[in-house]
Subunit: 408 residues, 2 copies
Amino acid sequence: MVRNDLLTVGSGVDLSKGSRLRVGMIAPAWLPVPPIGYGGTERVVAVLVEGLVARGHDVTLFAAAGSVTSAHLVTPLATPPPLGDPASVSDDLFHTTSAFLHAGEFDIVHDHTGMGPALGAMLTGRTPVIHTLHGPWTAFNRRFFGLVENRVHLVAISRAQQAANPHLRYAAVVHNGIDLSVHPFNPVKEDFLVFVGRISPEKRPEVAIEVARAAKLPLVMVVKRREPAEHAYWDEFVAPILGGDVVVLDEPSQAVKAAVLGRARALLFPIDWPEPFGLVMVEAMACGTPVIACPLGAVPEVVTDGVTGFLCSTPAQMVHAAEAATELRPEDCRVRVEQCFSAEAMAAAYERVYRVALDGAGSHDGGAALEGLTDDLAHRTMSVGISERAKRTEEDPRVDHRYSNPAA
Amino acid sequence: MVRNDLLTVGSGVDLSKGSRLRVGMIAPAWLPVPPIGYGGTERVVAVLVEGLVARGHDVTLFAAAGSVTSAHLVTPLATPPPLGDPASVSDDLFHTTSAFLHAGEFDIVHDHTGMGPALGAMLTGRTPVIHTLHGPWTAFNRRFFGLVENRVHLVAISRAQQAANPHLRYAAVVHNGIDLSVHPFNPVKEDFLVFVGRISPEKRPEVAIEVARAAKLPLVMVVKRREPAEHAYWDEFVAPILGGDVVVLDEPSQAVKAAVLGRARALLFPIDWPEPFGLVMVEAMACGTPVIACPLGAVPEVVTDGVTGFLCSTPAQMVHAAEAATELRPEDCRVRVEQCFSAEAMAAAYERVYRVALDGAGSHDGGAALEGLTDDLAHRTMSVGISERAKRTEEDPRVDHRYSNPAA
């Protein structure tokens, strides 16, 4: 019964290649763009907005109060809601609805919110809506995106993310990009390891401590622990094994984080879930620092095993990799990011997605027509199975990171 | 910047008075229609659907699995989410989005959900969307409905509800109606009082116990205590004062509830919030039972002081009223419901709202053009102030009954 309407061309838009597009960019309600500390989605949105403005587009950013941008800024909520508060769904609804009520003023709406795809699906035939899939797959969002796939142009952030839900209709795969200028290259490495992440079972901070200790190297932990579940995980699994060989930094500035990443011998990324992208891996590599990671989710697309890091399935392999990391060349890490994960590459890719959506072409090929937007890495099918925890994350509808943790 | 588009006429609809309308009726995700036990919104939706079908309309009901209806039934979710679970926002989004994706198949969409007004606001210029305001005003929904008032036809369920937010644009005030056939008139009263309601500070069940005890009458309590906050309130304020003079029934069937209401001398309704409507008052009156209530919210519209009950501002007044209730005539209570709060009256009133919305006429008069839809009671301005608790309910954005308690 659901209509499979074509996503049609907005009226009066000059579709010539160099035309200036009016873009309505809708960030989540919770964190400013860019974020002060933690906030992967908001960091990507910030980089994308600056990239689009640099390309001459007329961008309006709907985001949390406190955002700083070269675009026109609209902040529907005077005060952002607290992260992880169930009551903040009301604020989310207000923020996202406020933004979508302006859809008619733009050539393209690019949404990054939880409810945006539902609102965008109602606009069929008017302004095309792009939605970037920032989160992991859950039982809920598999069903939800299945509802709206023919009305909203869905963009995956990795081929692994696409492959994990292959029957959905995608407009494209566009890898996240970072601002290389705020991730200075540092070829001089020091004898310590670094962990960056939310304090959660998916990120396994306690494994990073065990690996660093077994490798006889100090560990700097750049952590986000704001929400009750994060504090609980910290208290139960991390605090008991802290020692003089571990330094903890709570959501430092981007500059401090980049400096720490640049000086470290390697980034430890001992995840236990199908990581949709893993922005910090790219940030480390930009600073010339290799990545030691479990090959789950997008990791094999981001890290070139033996060149920009090591793919390790066990803590023991990670300990050996921490030793071998000194043999990798920082230059190779930097070049990889410059080639595949720059802000410029991302902005150019999204501009092409916008123009294809406006053109009405390619929107019925499940993304195949846009394959060229992605980098040329073959998607490697990994033999490493998804762990039990990753399966549980998938099946438990309560683990809905689009709501409980908008910047997952 | 928000567009103030006119709500325009759906295409191809025969606007002649007797034409059959295709109505998409969207109930909340949580409880079946009609509900098994508790569920004010779902009970009203059930009665309205049956009334519209009886009037010859082609109604499709989107509702929780387990619903029973004469309309076409669509159940987007195989299993309804648990009441009061913050994670159920995902299910709510799926349910409501699924329903609104069918909007183009109807002449009119009539929504009763939390997110529906946002989705409906995106449909401007196509199928008109009616939304009934079932809940209390909160800081959140005052702002939220302000966003969408020009795109969705908002219907208040009492003049008091409208008066408490007078600057919003309303399509009409339509009082809730009940099925008189399942609320048999009982002129023979017994010497006990009855309380019906959620176990919450707004309903003040403990005051009902105190009043009945002071009046030396037994009390039958028909309660809903499912959610954690309700159990906590019960344990702290109700359980300690229970005695042999109190009988508790947990969400009995409609038939049992109606039988108890019909036999009681009076219904105690000692509320401490601006009740948007108060369906149980009408149910009691239909059974011939007068209502002893605090004159907050819609109470003075529903209860005629000294005729179908007594308006009391203190527990002491309620004790006296419990004595005086024997002097009221059960017939007067029944007739009042037949005249003003019947299923037929409600269905006829909503049909007129639908036709006016389709006609495009009157939709810019803030409801004034539809004044005739409401009964002819003058709206009494009560001198009894809103209590402190009522003020707190208003100002605390966490008390958002549209989400925490969809059938408030």
